[in-house]
């Protein structure tokens, strides 16, 4: 056919390489341009493919025809040896100007072809797009799922503080701990009475104490005179503070507090995001210092508890999805999301990192998350040891509440 004839007649004697994209379409490109791509180059040299239409080199799936065109334009320019750095830079700057979606496709495609200079170029461009943006803006730009739950997003602290469920939770937990402590005391004195517990058996608090119990720091108490004259504020020993008028205010506060709802906690200013831009953005989680709850449990009970913990943890790990179904089917008003159990963050993507709190028989409360997607959620959900701890505590409660074990 004419093409073949033309090929023979053409004076230039250019060599062409045939490339096939995932959609099946085939195109040819000058050899030196194609060879600029390491992946194509290797194919040609190792397998001998690409020399004709029937033996076109199959390109990775991430390379579609339009993107291939772009990549080949890049290669065509840069494979010419004589160009100056300035020329190349100018070309690159112009080349990069495209919409974000295309830029992403290009980055991905360049990576699959192992074309490192282009990967770097496009990656840097993407980085510049990302820099300075808020998470919301980034999501919009790249059409990413908004799968961090409501409270995990930009203003988690504000939401968390204002969330009445969480406040209720805090109070309930504080009360419970107080009860537990009192019960510990009573245990040694008298036969444990059957505590009338109105909560359901399934009472479960799945927080984990992640507080730092690292070794105490060695204290240095050297009394050195600091030479800080230039930073010193002059000390004014005269006390100018006004101490009066507190009692009245405080009485008002404490009485409203006893009612359970401190209503005078005004909501903070509207746009108070997590401001600590330069610090680690850990969302605070509800920390419960459980350190001393395990004390004073007699060994037999401890053994029992240990076994229960194992069971419990296993149950949680395996049954949870089913249990969720169970609960959902009970038809009560609740929002539930499963806890993800597995540890290694990198390969597991769960649809939610929420925590479930059950308080009361039918009053199922869900806190979608106390914390943002932060270390806290991983650590208190993910690790076995931590899970054990929470489970341990929950089991202990169960034990307490049923009095018998």
């Amino acid at each position: 056919m004419s093409e073949g004839v033309m090929a023979v007649v053409k004076p230039e004697m250019k060599s062409y390489i045939w490339l096939q994209t995932a959609d099946g379409s085939i195109q040819q490109v000058e050899e030196e341009v194609a060879m600029f791509c390491p992946m194509i180059c290797r194919e040609i040299l190792q397998t001998g493919m690409g020399s004709s239409k029937n033996y076109a080199i199959s390109l990775p799936q991430r390379v579609n025809p339009a993107i291939l065109g772009l990549i080949l334009d890049y290669c065509r320019f840069h494979q010419v040896p004589g160009r100056s750095n300035k020329e190349r830079k100018t070309f690159d700057e112009k080349f990069i100007r495209m919409d974000t979606k295309r830029l992403c496709e290009l980055t991905s495609a360049a990576d699959s072809l192992q074309l490192k200079p282009l990967v770097d170029l496009t990656s840097r461009a993407l980085a510049r797009i990302i820099e300075g943006k808020t998470p919301e803006e980034i999501r919009e730009t790249f059409h990413l799922p908004d799968d961090l739950t409501e409270e995990e997003k930009l203003e988690p602290l504000r939401n968390i503080t204002d969330d009445p469920r969480i406040r209720l939770l805090n109070r309930l937990y504080a009360r419970k701990r107080k009860e537990l402590k009192e019960r510990e005391k009573l245990k040694n004195v008298e036969v444990e009475e059957e505590r009338v517990d109105e909560r359901s058996v399934e009472d479960l608090l799945t927080f984990i104490n992640g507080g730092g119990e690292d070794s105490k720091g060695v204290r240095a108490n050297k009394n050195k005179k600091k030479n800080r004259r230039r930073k010193d504020h002059p000390k004014d020993s005269s006390s100018n503070s006004v101490y009066g008028n507190h009692n009245k205010e405080l009485d008002v506060l404490s009485s409203s507090c006893h009612d359970g709802e401190v209503n005078n906690m005004a909501s903070p200013s509207k746009n108070s995001k997590l401001q600590d831009s330069t610090s680690v953005t850990f969302s605070p989680k509800l920390e419960f210092d459980d350190g001393d709850i395990d004390d004073d449990i007699d060994p037999a009970m401890k053994e029992e508890l240990d076994r229960e913990v194992e069971d419990f943890a296993r149950r949680l790990n395996s049954d949870w999805p089913e249990r969720m179904q169970e609960i959902l089917s009970l038809g009560q008003e609740r929002r539930l999301v499963p806890i993800s159990m597995n540890g290694n963050g990198s390969t597991h993507r769960y649809t939610s990192m929420s925590c479930i709190v059950w308080i009361g028989d039918n009053n199922l409360m869900v806190n979608d998350s106390f914390v943002r997607m932060s270390s806290s959620s991983f650590e208190w959900i993910a690790r076995d040891a931590s899970m054990r701890f929470a489970a341990e505590e929950a089991v202990e409660e169960l034990a307490m509440s049923f009095g018998a074990r």
Binding site: K133, R139, R228, D232, P234, S254, R349
Partner: protein, 584 residues
């Protein structure tokens, strides 16, 4: 939606993230969606923890398994003014222990206002094979023995910086622990050390480290030695001189001048303890290249300062004592058009009468003459609203404005009015103001201005200001970006604090000392806000030995996900649910 995530492989996204290094951006990335959170956390190499008690080492390690560089801050800023009692905390040892196991490839540790022991330093020296950077800024608790361990073991050390730290200086011998094969030093700052180091060891060290860029000597290094060192390291970019005390000897002078002229790269100069003015001309040759000059230890008087400063046309940063006086600041404004940062420290802060002719006028001149000035720390004895208004109008670009009128509650010296309007003008005009310290006679009005206009304000320092709770309320409810608030001797009590309790969780920390916050309020706050650590610091004894309405001495509140700390000394009480249960 998920399409994008699927087609964009993790490694590629990680590669994109590698070009994004600022903490703020990395934090934003981690909040975009779950997959980005995951990817980001595995490739985060640098961590900044603004308050070491906000999070536990274990949490950091668990979230970021591949960290190579960490920066930690310990004590609150007011520790610099001796307001934080000795032994309060800020121990780095638990962090080092945890990181020794988890981050064997850790390269950089930067600490500020932390207690560092020799044990910690030894552990660092032993645990991190590729350790490169150790910066101990305003730290304490260690001796030169610890430094010796670092010197002896850290083969790849690049930077050792003891900026303003308190070191138990047993001897200068530690420097000799750098082995002869060690050549990778890039930056050394020993300016806070008292005793003499072995000069020959120092010279040999400097001589064999071709990449040395920054050398800040201590006062024990005399002038005569400086020339030799400079000749060994003409590539220096930053130099801190030793002591200059010596009567003028012509040969020493010419030697020094010659050595300086050989340092073509020198951009930053500091030190100048006890400097004899006659030696100053030795540095004239490099003045035009200087961008940073720190004369805050130098008792050079105004005429010599003027001569020096007028040669530094490219100066961007100047730290100087108030000996510079108004006339010197006029000269500065005339010669240094590129000035970005100015700090003027008091030479005699405790004196009752002014000892120098430095007034508000100097600051006005500089704000007029230096269009790029954006950061100021200024100690003076008099100020007026008019001057502040002028300054605000001249220079709306301030990002940091710290004015310290030495005598508390000093009014406008012209009108005897409070300085509310003046500072109000500053916050109103300087829309990008991030850091502000106020002083002088101030009523609640100034806080109304601050709350209204200080929308970008991140750090605020107050002393001897305000009339009552309303002032604090304005600040807490108005300043949306507030991260650090430190207050001393202001009549703020319970109401504003409790009303704005939720705000405290959006901030890094709040310090209040000698104010009117009652013990009862502290307890309440601690109970209600489990994500805040409410520390009552009181050296008078247990707070419950006094009535609940009794104000606490000092209060330090900071958000934390690590829970109450366990290393508190006897004079610190943590207000939390347990304490409420315990104490009630």
């Amino acid at each position: 939606m998920l399409k994008m995530a699927n087609s964009f492989p993790e490694e590629v996204l990680e590669h994109v993230f590698s070009f994004i290094q600022s903490d703020k951006d990395r934090n934003s990335i981690s909040m975009v969606c779950k997959s980005w959170y995951e990817i980001e956390r595995w490739c985060r190499r640098r961590i900044f923890v603004g308050n070491c008690y906000a999070v536990s080492p274990r949490m950091v390690i668990r979230r970021f398994p591949e960290v190579r560089s960490i920066e930690l801050k310990g004590k609150p800023h007011f520790a610099d003014f001796k307001l934080v009692p000795e032994g309060w905390g800020g121990y780095v040892y638990p962090w080092i222990v945890a990181m020794a196991v988890a981050y064997p490839w850790l390269e950089e540790i930067r600490l500020k206002r932390m207690v560092v022991t020799d044990e910690s330093l030894e552990l660092i020296a032993k645990s991190f094979k590729n350790f490169k950077v150790l910066v101990l800024s305003s730290c304490e608790g260690f001796s030169t023995d610890g430094l010796a361990a670092i010197a002896a073991n850290c083969r790849n050390l690049r930077e050792l910086d003891l900026w303003e730290s308190e070191v138990d200086d047993l001897s200068g011998h530690w420097l000799s622990h750098f082995p002869d094969t060690y050549t990778s030093l890039v930056s050394l700052n020993i300016s806070c050390l008292g005793s003499e180091v072995s000069f020959s060891a120092l010279e040999r060290l400097v001589g064999r480290c071709p990449n040395l860029r920054s050398l800040r000597l201590n006062p024990a290094v005399p002038l005569e030695r400086l020339a030799n060192l400079l000749r060994q390291a003409p590539q220096l970019v930053e130099l801190g001189t030793g002591t200059c005390l010596a009567e003028l000897k012509p040969d020493v002078f010419s030697n020094l001048a010659g050595a300086f002229s050989g340092c073509k790269e020198l951009k930053s100069l500091s030190g100048f303890w006890e400097v004899v003015p006659a030696y100053l001309p030795a540095v004239y040759s490099i003045c035009p290249g200087l961008t940073s000059l720190n004369l805050s230890y130098a008792s050079i008087q105004s005429p010599d300062l003027i001569k020096l400063v007028s040669q530094c046309q490219n100066l961007q940063r100047l730290w100087v004592l108030d000996y510079i006086e108004d006339v010197g600041l006029d000269a500065l404004a005339a010669s240094c058009k590129d000035l970005r940062e100015l700090r003027v420290f008091p030479s005699d802060p405790f004196g009752l009468e002014p000892n120098v002719a430095l007034t508000e006028q100097g600051l006005v001149s500089v704000s007029e003459g230096c269009p790029k000035l954006h950061s100021v720390l200024y100690f003076c004895r008099q100020m007026s609203n008019a001057a502040l208004l002028t300054i605000a109008r001249n220079q709306p670009n301030f990002t940091c404005f710290r004015l310290c009128i030495i005598e508390p509650r000093t009014p406008d010296y012209l009108t005897l009015q409070p300085l509310d309007v003046g500072f109000g003008a500053i916050v109103e005009h300087c829309k990008d103001l991030q850091r502000l310290s106020v002083s002088g006679l101030l009523t609640d009005r100034v806080f109304e201005y601050i709350g209204t206009y200080g929308k970008k304000l991140e750090m605020l320092s107050l002393a001897f200001a305000g009339d009552g709770d309303l002032g604090l309320h304005h600040v807490l409810s108005g300043c949306e970006n507030l991260r650090k608030l430190e207050i001393r001797d202001c009549p703020f009590g319970d109401k504003a604090l409790l009303d704005n309790a939720a705000k405290l969780e959006t901030m890094r920390s709040l310090w209040m000392s000698s104010c009117s916050v009652s013990y009862g309020a502290c307890k309440l706050l601690g109970q209600k806000m489990p994500r805040l650590n409410v520390e009552v610091i009181d050296e008078r004894g247990p707070p419950d030995s006094r009535p609940e309405s009794c104000p606490v001495e000092k209060l330090y509140i900071y958000r934390s996900i690590a829970g109450p700390r366990i290393d508190m000394p006897g004079f610190v009480w943590m207000m939390d649910e347990d304490s409420a249960l315990r104490l009630s």
